[in-house]
Structure formats: C-alpha cells, structure tokens
Symmetry: C2
Subunit: 238 residues, 2 copies
Amino acid sequence: MKNAETTVAKLSEVALRRWSMIAPGDRILIGASGGKDSTTLAYDLAVKRRWWPDRFEFLALHVETDVGEPQDRAPLEALFRDWGVPFASIRVPVIGRLKPGERMNCYWCSTQRRTELIRYALAEGFHKIALGHHLDDIVETLLMNMLHKGEISTMPPVVRYSKYPLAVIRPLALCEERQIEAFAREKGFASVTCTCGYDGASRRKEVRAKIEALTGGSSELKRNLFRSMSRVNAEYLA
Amino acid sequence: MKNAETTVAKLSEVALRRWSMIAPGDRILIGASGGKDSTTLAYDLAVKRRWWPDRFEFLALHVETDVGEPQDRAPLEALFRDWGVPFASIRVPVIGRLKPGERMNCYWCSTQRRTELIRYALAEGFHKIALGHHLDDIVETLLMNMLHKGEISTMPPVVRYSKYPLAVIRPLALCEERQIEAFAREKGFASVTCTCGYDGASRRKEVRAKIEALTGGSSELKRNLFRSMSRVNAEYLA
C-alpha cells in the first residue's frame, strides 16, 4: 500500500469505528458524483469489504443531472470495474423539476440528488447512504453555519433519519482534502468534478479562503476546529 | 444623550436584563484598567444607577501592576470624579510575584489581577465583579479556544463562581468594540491602555485580523458568530 492510500485507509477506519458506521449485514449506497471524494470513498470501501470484520455490501450510485456539461461516465465505470465497485446510475432532471419562475441553485440541486439517493436506497433495501464529505467540508460547514445561520452545527459523521430506516454516514470525516487529493494523484485517477458554476460553489470557495486565513494553512489548527465540535463547554458560552 | 452613548446604553441594558446581571441590593466591583472598555462600563453603570429599577452600589477598582510604563492615574480619577464613579486603587507586584526562572506573560498577569479583584470583592462585601469585555473580545475568545484549545467555549456574559459567593458579569457583552470606540471619541476621553508589549496582546491582534478575514468586517456576520453560541445544535455536530 502506498503512502496516501494508507493515510486515507487508516483515517477512514478510525471514523468507521469511532462512530460505529457499519453494522453486520449492512447494505451501503455510495453517492458517487464522479468527483475525487466519492471516488476515493468507493475505493476505500471496496478494499475494506475484503477484510472488514462485519460483512457488508455496497453499490456506487451516480445521480446524473441536466445541470452543466454532460459527463462521460465511461472512465468512472472503467475505474470502478477495475476496483470491484458495483456501479449503477440514474438520471434526474434537476432543472426540469424547477417550477416556472424558480432559478437554479446549489441548494435545489443537492436536495434533489439527495432525495433520489434516499428514494433509491429505500426502494432497493439499503440501510446506509455513504457520502464523500471530508474534514474540510465539515469544518467549512461549521463556519458557514456560524457565520450565516448564527448556529453551531455542521454535517455530522453519522445522521440517522427519523422518518426512514436509513442513516447517512461520512467515512472520510477525518480525512483532510489534501490527503484525498494526494490519494487521487497517487492512484492516478482524474476526477470529473462539478462544473455547473452556480453560486454555492463560489460561496464554498470563499469559506475555504476564510479557513485558510483562520488557520494559516495549519492542519493542527484545522483539526482543532473539528475537534472543538465534540467539546462544547456549555457553561462557558454566551 | 448622543448617538454612540445611546447605542452603548441600550445594548448594555439588553445584556443586563437578558442575563439578569443585577439583583436588588447588589454591590458591584468594576475592574477598571484605565482602558476604553472598562472606562465606558464605569460611565454606563454610573448613569444606570440613577434610574435602574433595582438599587445597586458600585466601585471602580484599579489594579496597578509593576508591568510596563507607570501610568498617571490622575486623568482617570478626574474623569470618574466628574461622572460620579467611586474609585479605589491597589498595587500588585505581578512581576515581583514571579518565582525564580519564570517568565512574565499575559496569562500570569491577568490571573494575578483577577485574583486581587476577587480577594478585594470578598473582603469588602461585593457580590459581582463587572468586567469591560465586549462582543469582539467574546467572539475572539471563542475562535481562539476553537483554534488553539479545540473546544467551543468563551468568556460568558455571566459566570458564577462555585467557590465564592461571587459572579463575574460583562455588561458590554453585546457592544461591538467599534461602538465603544465611538463612545470614547464622542465623550472625548483618552484611554490609558495596556502598554506591556507581551505575547498575549500580539496573539489577540492576530485573532482580530482573522475575524476580520472571516467576517469581511461585517457586523452582521460577527453578531452571527456571537449568536451561534446560544444555538448549539448538538444533533448536527461531529
């Protein structure tokens, strides 16, 4: 195993164990966008399935939309075939579903795609939806929620739906983006990232720059931000 | 009443009420450093004492140290005499109390001064210690604790000591620094701020720049950071 691969594998193992993400017999649906994060996640789960103490099954589901340039799915399918990652794909007309007068935005698109993942999971008997969000995403959402919603909250590593027999898990919660990038480079796969150019992407870029300013690029300080979420000292808050 | 004075008076009234900072018959000791914050606080409490529904007494206590240039207390005393602020002063050899080989730092100095305030309050029968920390201080401490301690905590508007029959109150918790500065300019008092040049001051300056980068100077975003502390969504944390 190479360097970046080991790092990602270990950090995902810690997350899977710390938050008890996998139960025996779980059927896990991976939201596979074609980007580096979920592609890394698919690889990681494919390797882990071979030795993980609890048996589990998984499927990478690509939700194709009518937003942005059409993507060529062939390279992703070839990669997944190589890695032994079962793959399926569905098409959702995200723009087509807008009501007259409504404008396209990132929130709408991601809500629609999430809804389709849930629907597919329920229909096909999956227990978990695994998403590729990493530590930087989680810290960014924390800061965005504090700054824009005035609330301390984020995307947690595990969320159990109350309405459905389903949970969302984020096995890469402890991986930094740079570690995932290093893995993608090491493994030599080109990612097909979101190219839509809507507002959410630019807002995330802005927050990314803010976290850079906050931490001065230090991983330790960024990890402290992450760690602070599990250490809320209610007596010492306003 | 002028503009900045009204702003500070109203925000401090909201804080005093929201966190029930004053009880009938309270004797309040103000930690008066000579800086703009605690000087503003002393003025504000002097005005409020004349009409506040609950009767209270107060005294501004200046804790002089052997750190930095000796300060001329005369201008501060004259100001307080003008405003009807009862004033006292004690001297604490902060450097003199260092054990051999120990180096002076901001943490030591502020701990020593705090200890003296508590000792004085207990000896003289005060119920509250009022400090001049403002919203920027509280948000800065939140970010510093997240970044450096990996913990979500800050200086709260009210802290009750478990060991003593004493509470710390921060009536300016809802005032931004710029509002206090505007008041100081409006009122025309020059502040005798800390001139010690130790490390803590520079670290605080650094965090101040980081918050500037985070909020882009927007008061709304800074107030959202403050507000987030009272809205911790534990279900959506890592």
